[in-house]
């Protein structure tokens, strides 16, 4: 009797397998997980990004382990914990823009006599600087934060609602040569500004002082989860 059922069962199993295979492949294709389709240069960029992220994660893990070790070594003493918390608060303040910061970096002087520079160009500059590892950025008198936004129009750019006047000074703290190179890539920020009739002068400095601060708006809609 089983022999009668066997072909049906086999067919059912094969259909199931086929369905699973189709579903998996469709999902993979849609998820763009088909690495096999990427060109070598794209794979290189992907790999570079992954390696950066890996390095950042390793550092984070090392920092966290060191902090935990310090806390435990001092027997969870308040003094050590307080110092650690203060250190974390300082780092976050630099990131969030609520504290002045100093360090090596770039001093960029941007001129726009023909009013040809667009908000998107400055946005690109900030993104390039971040991509090159900038830790704190100041554009004109405005400190860049996570929610900084460029608005306005070509030749009349506003940052966080503040009208930017040229010549514009941009300060960025980070590794000077890396940031310099990022701005100077062909078709990058320097190229775009120069083509708009403006000029960019970049000076690498041992010490850049970023003094503009950001005020934190208490969130009205975003609540901490969990």
């Amino acid at each position: 009797m089983l022999r009668n059922r066997l072909p049906t069962v086999l067919i059912a199993i094969l259909c199931l397998a086929l369905g699973l295979g189709i579903a998996t492949q469709v999902r993979r294709t849609h998820a763009g997980d088909t690495l096999a389709d990427q060109r070598p240069q794209d794979l290189v960029v992907l790999l570079d990004g992954m390696q950066q992220r890996e390095a950042a994660l390793r550092k984070e893990i090392a920092d966290a382990e060191a902090a935990l070790a310090r806390l435990r070594a001092s027997g969870d003493s308040s003094a050590a914990a307080l110092a650690e918390a203060q250190r974390r608060a300082d780092a976050l303040a630099v990131l969030a823009g609520t504290a002045a910061a100093a360090g090596p970096g770039l001093e960029i002087e941007l001129t726009d006599p023909q009013r040809g520079v667009a908000p998107a160009d400055l946005l690109d500059a900030v993104q390039e600087l971040r991509g090159a590892g900038a830790e704190a950025i100041q554009v004109g008198d405005v400190r860049i934060g996570v929610d900084s936004a460029f608005t306005g129009s070509t030749g009349a750019i506003e940052l966080d609602g503040v009208r930017l006047s040229v010549p514009l000074t941009i300060l960025a703290i980070g590794d000077p040569p890396t940031m310099d190179a990022a701005l100077n890539i062909p078709g990058g920020v320097v190229d775009t500004v120069e083509r708009a009739g403006g000029g960019v002068r970049i000076a690498q400095r041992d010490r850049v002082h970023i003094t503009a601060l950001r005020t934190i708006r208490p969130p009205q809609y975003a609540r901490p989860a969990g």
Partner: protein
């Protein structure tokens, strides 16, 4: 048992009447259906099989050797990327675990003392401001699908869109499930987009927490909205904005500054 069942070649039966080389049938007919035998047969068989084996072997060896260097390098790169992905996933989990442990240990050590509580409160506020805390709330969800063979929506366009969300008053933004923080970038690598160095595939989903109605109204006025509206007309890009009652955005992971140190009053 008739021949009908599961016929040869199925739908192609009409195309080729019998797929076996007719030479066999003719030779069999000539022999009067007696099986072929004799030394000549054996020799021919051995030679033929050897020859065919040679062809297959040579082709296989040639195919293996001919994988050009570039293709091998590409496969190597793919392996590297997958290895890196596995590693970073593992590291990310470890980092999350350690951060939670550290937080617990600090709170235990500091809770109760006035200084400790104040500092913890400061850290909490700053973490929120730096996008380092998972948040939930109402807001907008934007979905972008870039059809076509070559990418029409570039990282520049996505950056402008994110910029538009911030300009419209968003309080927290995530792209492809990756929370944006003060050091996060949106870069492009061929068909994939790297958000904070993490690959994000299509469809591109941006989530922003804020006043849904206000966000939407102000977003429509931005350059970004106009740009993407043009894309939908010119490139057939799909661009949808929907209001969501409850979004959950994960915590952002910003690397702490190494070169920048805090200055000023302390």
């Amino acid at each position: 048992m008739t021949e009908r069942r599961g016929g040869d070649g199925g739908p192609l039966r009409g195309l080729l009447p019998d797929l076996l080389d007719p030479g066999y049938a003719r030779a069999a007919a000539r022999r009067g259906n007696a099986p072929a035998a004799g030394h000549a047969q054996v020799v021919a068989l051995v030679l033929g099989a050897l020859l065919i084996g040679l062809v297959l072997g040579v082709a296989a060896a040639d195919a293996a050797a001919r994988a050009p260097g570039a293709e091998k390098a590409r496969r190597g790169l793919i392996d590297d990327v997958q290895d890196a992905r596995r590693r970073t996933d593992g590291l990310s989990a470890t980092a999350g675990r350690l951060a939670a442990e550290l937080k617990v240990a600090q709170q235990r050590a500091l809770a109760g003392s006035a200084n400790g509580d104040a500092t913890l409160e400061t850290v909490r506020t700053l973490e929120q401001a730096a996008g380092a805390v998972a948040v939930t709330g109402p807001g907008l969800r934007i979905t972008v699908v870039d059809g076509g063979d070559k990418p029409n929506v570039l990282d520049r366009d996505l950056q402008v869109l994110v910029n538009g969300l911030w300009a419209s008053g968003a309080e927290a933004v995530a792209f492809g499930g990756v929370r944006l923080h003060p050091r996060a970038t949106v870069r492009q690598a061929g068909g994939a987009v790297l958000v904070d160095n993490r690959p994000v595939a299509q469809p591109y989903v941006l989530e922003a927490i804020g006043d849904p109605a206000g966000l939407h109204t102000r977003l429509v006025d931005t350059d970004a909205y106009g740009r993407f509206a043009t894309f939908t007309q010119v490139y057939g890009t799909r661009f949808t904005v929907e209001t969501v009652d409850s979004l959950s955005l994960p915590a952002g992971v910003a690397a702490e500054p190494e070169l920048a140190t805090k200055e000023g009053s302390r």
